[in-house]
């Protein structure tokens, strides 16, 4: 169903987009970029960089009109494989002589960093064009997606001039410092629709084990707290309970997103004998914040500026 939406979005690209900061053409380019990553067939190598860590990843992606298939293989260090079928992601993660199979939701996966529905992006960002530069031996148009407030990070995109695919993306803070970056070093479009490559490279000598799952979905409102004053543009996208080793009570885990960035909010009762946590920190592109509301320990983690994790933490109101 999501993919029928692509076809309608391709049609939408042709219609004018009005009333946004940034010209019609630029938002059309961005819309095309959001869709291209899902509907084109391509393979290549990109470098993923965050903080001091950097990994090369080989990617192959195909869209057969119904489903999307992508295989990403990390080329440096541990040979981690990320297989994505229409948003259902399975990761094969070698760990201690075993291969752990992890299931994930596919979201904001390079080069499909943007959601295909740009409404939330238009509300929170402005768009302006830059120069043409050469990336991965291709001509690319630079687009600046700048946040309207200090609640989220900004982006610089290099969009392939010929096919509209995102070639390079850099996430920037409000001092224009790069927090992370993902960039193709080589890219080719492919014609074959064969799917025999869409499988992990099995190491017959190792045991494959499913990751321990310790969460259950839980969308009920709690009688002990409510949320008031969430930061602009962030909406709740998921909620679950997590069992954590050593804790008597499960931890409530809420996830908020503005379309590009996600933030996790953890709420749990304070435990006797354990010192409550208070403080804030920033490590690379990830902000942390912890405080106490009533008898609840609040912890917030996300790839957003520190002010945003603080606002989300302070939005939790303890109800006696």
């Amino acid at each position: 169903m999501l993919f029928k939406r692509f076809l309608s979005l391709v049609a939408l690209m042709i219609l004018s987009v009005s009333g946004q900061a940034g010209s019609t053409d630029q938002w059309q380019t961005l819309q095309k970029m959001a869709v291209a990553a899902h509907v084109l067939n391509y393979q290549g190598i990109f470098v993923c960089q965050t903080g001091a860590q950097s990994k090369s990843v080989e990617i192959k992606h195909i869209y057969n009109g119904h489903d999307e298939f992508a295989r990403n293989v990390v080329l440096d260090g541990s040979p981690r494989e990320v297989l994505n079928q229409s948003g259902d992601v399975v990761i094969y993660n070698p760990k201690n002589e075993k291969i752990v199979i992890e299931k994930r939701r596919g979201q904001n996966m390079f080069p499909a960093i943007l959601p295909t529905d740009l409404d939330s992006i238009k509300a929170n960002y402005t768009l302006k064009a830059g120069e043409i530069e050469r990336v991965a031996d291709r001509q690319a148009q630079i687009l600046f997606l700048e946040s309207k407030d200090n609640l989220r990070y900004s982006y610089k995109f290099w969009v392939d001039s010929e096919y509209g695919l995102l070639l390079k993306s850099v996430m920037l803070n409000n001092r224009n410092e790069a927090l992370d970056s993902m960039a193709f070093t080589q890219l080719t479009l492919i014609k074959s629709m064969e799917l025999d490559w869409f499988k992990p490279k099995i190491d017959g000598k190792k045991a494959y084990v499913m990751e321990d799952v310790n969460t259950i979905a839980d969308k009920q409102d709690s009688p002990h707290w409510r949320l008031k004053g969430l930061p602009e543009g962030f909406v709740k996208v998921d909620q679950m309970m997590r069992a954590v080793k050593g804790k008597t009570w499960p931890v409530t885990h809420l996830i908020f997103s503005d379309g590009l960035a996600s933030v996790s909010l953890f709420i749990e009762p304070l435990e006797n004998g354990i010192k409550p946590r208070n403080g804030r920190s920033l490590v690379g592109n990830t902000s942390f914040y912890a405080n106490v509301a009533g008898n609840l320990q609040i912890t917030v983690v996300g790839e957003v500026p520190e002010v945003t994790v603080a606002k989300i933490a302070n939005a939790v109101v303890f109800v006696k």
Binding site: C48, V82, Q107, S169, G279
Partner: protein, 168 residues
Amino acid sequence: MTEQLSALADNEIELADAEHLLASMQANSPAAEAWSRYHLIGDVMRGTPTLSADFKANLMAKIDMEPTVLAPNAAWLKSAAKADGNASKSGGQQIAWSMAASFAAVLVVGFMVLQAQVADPSLNANVAAVEAGIPTNAEFIPAEYLTAHQSSAPSSTSYYIQPASYPN
């Protein structure tokens, strides 16, 4: 006592006269604390890089490790002073230079430790935040929270780069 330490730090007392202060610094912990505090104040006033919270501890540890550097000179001072009455200018200066060299060596080691710490950007951030009065250290949040976040709400990079490890 602390006024005398301050004067010594500002080179207002001849090192040759300060032997009792130096001896007391080793024996007397508040005096040692005062000594490092005056140097910290001096550094801040001169605009040298702000010291990390560990600098004083490291400097004191370095000083503790080098008692033999100070003691012979102190004993030498005593005997030289007794033998000479008023120590001749050149002799006194010679002794003063060795005392200065010993202190300089200790301070250089301390600064090398500081450089290593300054090179760690996360520690810099900690220093800045501590100065601002905000408790800060990613270690205070257990790693499980970051892992849970990256598992249920992955970002573009966290599919490929393993959970960031905290400094240390």
